[in-house]
């Protein structure tokens, strides 16, 4: 009996050590990501047809120097792009990982479940049919994302949802919306069609100041909320029955998590268009860094910002012709998606 009386203490010690290791890793990874994002942010401000040093950029940002021409380039021209990249990336990264954990499927990214395509359809309709631009397009995109979510909810979420069914309905809804986008485009004049197609590719550079401001007001509320709800996510992942057995209010949690994630995605899409794959890959990359099944929302958000800032630098500075950001994220994300499809299929765990 003495032997078994001692052993729980050692087991507790092991658990304590494991937990400490994990929190240290989480702190190191998250701060490392934050540093990387800041570096990319500064780099975005340095690069362009008129190159600046890091000192000049930081000095201008912190208002330590007074050089009107540098201030104009940094704050006037490049800051909106850098802020957009970070904000949209944070929103997509956080929302993506919430979706994936809640639906227990790495394919359950907002890109695939009808939300982005709902936004795309509404925005294209606004551009083509109403000859709208700027804020109206973004407003339509926001409404479209919410309508897409509602469509998904009515079709799939009603009875509580799991795995494949949701993904399949999402792909169906997306295909339906994409088909309608194609139809709307055939009705368009060439100028509007080009504008619409550009919007659909998604680009950090296309953000207008008003949409961006809305996102910037929303992020300080929604990101902490998503991080707070992570506690619920951890039990929701175990299945509805288990979560309810543990005393979680599953319907309420699901509604809160989905609403937070959907609004994040909708606002991000309204700002920069449907930039693909960022929401899909941010969560899995964060999990790789943090350790399996940790699901850090903050880390995923930072990975999203990192990806988007890096993609935008590649799209606008590295490539010979500047391209929309969505082209680069697509080129990076597509191979990942293939790999995901192959490996989940092999393990037979796709659902």
């Amino acid at each position: 009996m003495t032997a078994t009386a001692i052993r729980p203490d050692t087991a507790a010690g092991t658990l304590r050590a494991t937990r400490r290791r994990r929190s240290i890793r989480a702190i190191v990874v998250t701060s490392g990501l934050a540093v990387t994002v800041s570096a990319l942010f500064v780099l975005t401000l340095m690069l362009g047809s008129f190159r600046l040093g890091a000192g000049e950029v930081v000095g201008s940002l912190l208002r330590l120097r007074d050089d009107p021409s540098v201030d104009f380039v940094v704050r006037g021209l490049r800051l909106p792009t850098a802020v957009t990249g970070s904000a949209v990336g944070l929103a997509l990264g956080a929302a993506g990982t919430v979706f994936q954990q809640l639906l227990r499927n790495p394919l359950a990214s907002p890109d695939f479940v009808g939300i982005s395509s709902g936004a795309g359809l509404a925005a294209v309709a606004a551009i083509v049919l109403l000859q709208a631009g700027g804020l109206i397009v973004s407003g339509f995109a926001l409404a479209g994302a919410l309508a897409g979510t509602l469509a998904m909810y009515l079709l799939a979420w009603r009875d509580g949802v799991a795995g494949y069914r949701f993904i399949l309905i999402g792909i169906g809804v997306s295909a339906f919306f994409d088909g309608l986008v194609g139809f709307v485009l055939t009705k368009a004049q060439i100028f509007e069609a080009r504008q619409a197609a550009h919007w659909l590719t998604g680009s950090v550079g296309q953000a207008g100041p008003t949409e961006l401001r809305i996102l910037l007001y929303a992020l300080p509320v929604l990101l902490p909320l998503a991080m707070l709800l992570q506690r619920q996510l951890r039990v929701m992942e175990l299945g509805d029955d288990t979560a309810r057995g543990l005393g979680a209010r599953t319907e309420l949690n699901r509604a809160a998590l989905l609403a937070t994630a959907v609004v994040l995605v909708a606002l991000a899409v309204a700002v920069a268009g449907p930039i693909v794959f960022v929401a899909l890959v941010a969560g899995p990359i964060a999990n790789r860094l943090l350790g399996p099944a940790t699901g850090g929302v903050a880390a995923a958000a930072l990975v999203g910002a990192m990806l988007l800032l890096a993609s935008d630098i590649v799209a606008t500075q590295v490539l010979p012709t500047p391209l929309p950001t969505g082209v680069v994220t697509g080129a990076v994300g597509a191979p990942y998606l293939l790999w995901l499809l192959i490996t989940t299929n092999r393990q037979g765990e796709g659902g």
Binding site: R7, A11, A12, L15, R234
Partner: protein
């Protein structure tokens, strides 16, 4: 005295009622098995007792209060549930999974405490899974995995424990191992355990009290030696058999004819 009881309980999903007007009193400090043929409503009854299913009529009471009117978190501190198909997130470790059983004892901002560590450690220890703490749940055998899930519910530290067919998909060795574990938990900490079982022989061998169900109703209940007869097996499972004493334990053993 019984802490968990149902009165006039009628349960169902979308269609007709599956469980009709049942009265159940769960014996404190005992191991009870709910047995019956497939689709007789035994899992439904368990879900009803665990407040996962709202009664169409009647009520479930816990410690004298209506369970559906109580805060679900408060219930979770007294009553633990292992459902039929719990889901382990991809790549999760045993320690992480078991720790999630502490959910009802933690608040939105409360940090992980020594008490939480100790409870999770006791749960690992009691189920013999402490050595597996750093392993991934997916890599484990079926029997080990089921013990890890039991540990998760034990970490919840509840006096009552409901388990929905925990032996399904396990081979006979691991079925026996799991039931022995439940017996030990009951003996050492006086936990009240209700377990849904398919196998009547195993139920007779390992539990104190049997509730036999057929077509959503309770056909018989009592100590296995008192209620398990050839007539009952015929009535519940539609199987002709003789009942003989188990050569080891002397409990009723069903031998098909």
């Amino acid at each position: 005295m019984t802490r968990l009881r149902a009165e006039g309980l009628t349960l169902g999903y979308d269609g007709p009622a599956i469980v009709q007007d049942l009265d159940v009193a769960v014996l404190d400090g005992k191991v009870t098995a709910i047995v019956g043929a497939n689709a007789c409503g035994k899992s439904t009854l368990l879900r009803g007792l665990a407040r996962l299913l709202k009664p169409r009529s009647g009520a479930v009471s816990l410690d004298g209060g209506d369970i559906s009117a109580m805060s679900t978190l408060d219930v979770a501190k007294v009553l633990g549930l292992l459902p039929q198909a719990p889901l382990a997130p991809d790549g999760i470790t045993v320690a992480d999974l078991v720790s999630r059983g502490r959910y009802p004892h933690q608040g939105w901002f409360r940090r992980w405490t020594e008490g939480d560590h100790a409870a999770a450690a006791r749960a690992l220890q009691a189920t013999g899974t402490a050595e597996l703490a750093d392993r991934r749940v997916r890599e484990l055998s079926g029997g080990q995995r089921q013990r890890v899930w039991v540990a998760m519910v034990l970490a919840q530290e509840t006096d009552l424990l409901l388990l929905d067919e925990p032996t399904t998909h396990l081979d006979i060795n691991h079925q026996v191992e799991l039931l022995r574990l439940l017996r030990t938990l009951n003996a050492e900490s006086g936990k009240t355990i209700v377990v849904v079982l398919h196998d009547l022989n195993l139920a007779c061998r390992f539990v104190d009290h049997v509730i036999a169900m057929a077509d959503g109703r309770i056909v018989a209940e009592g100590a296995p030696a008192d209620v398990v007869t050839a007539e009952l097996v015929e009535k519940v499972f539609g199987l002709g058999c003789v009942v003989v004493p188990d050569p080891i334990a002397g409990t009723p053993m069903i031998v098909p004819t």
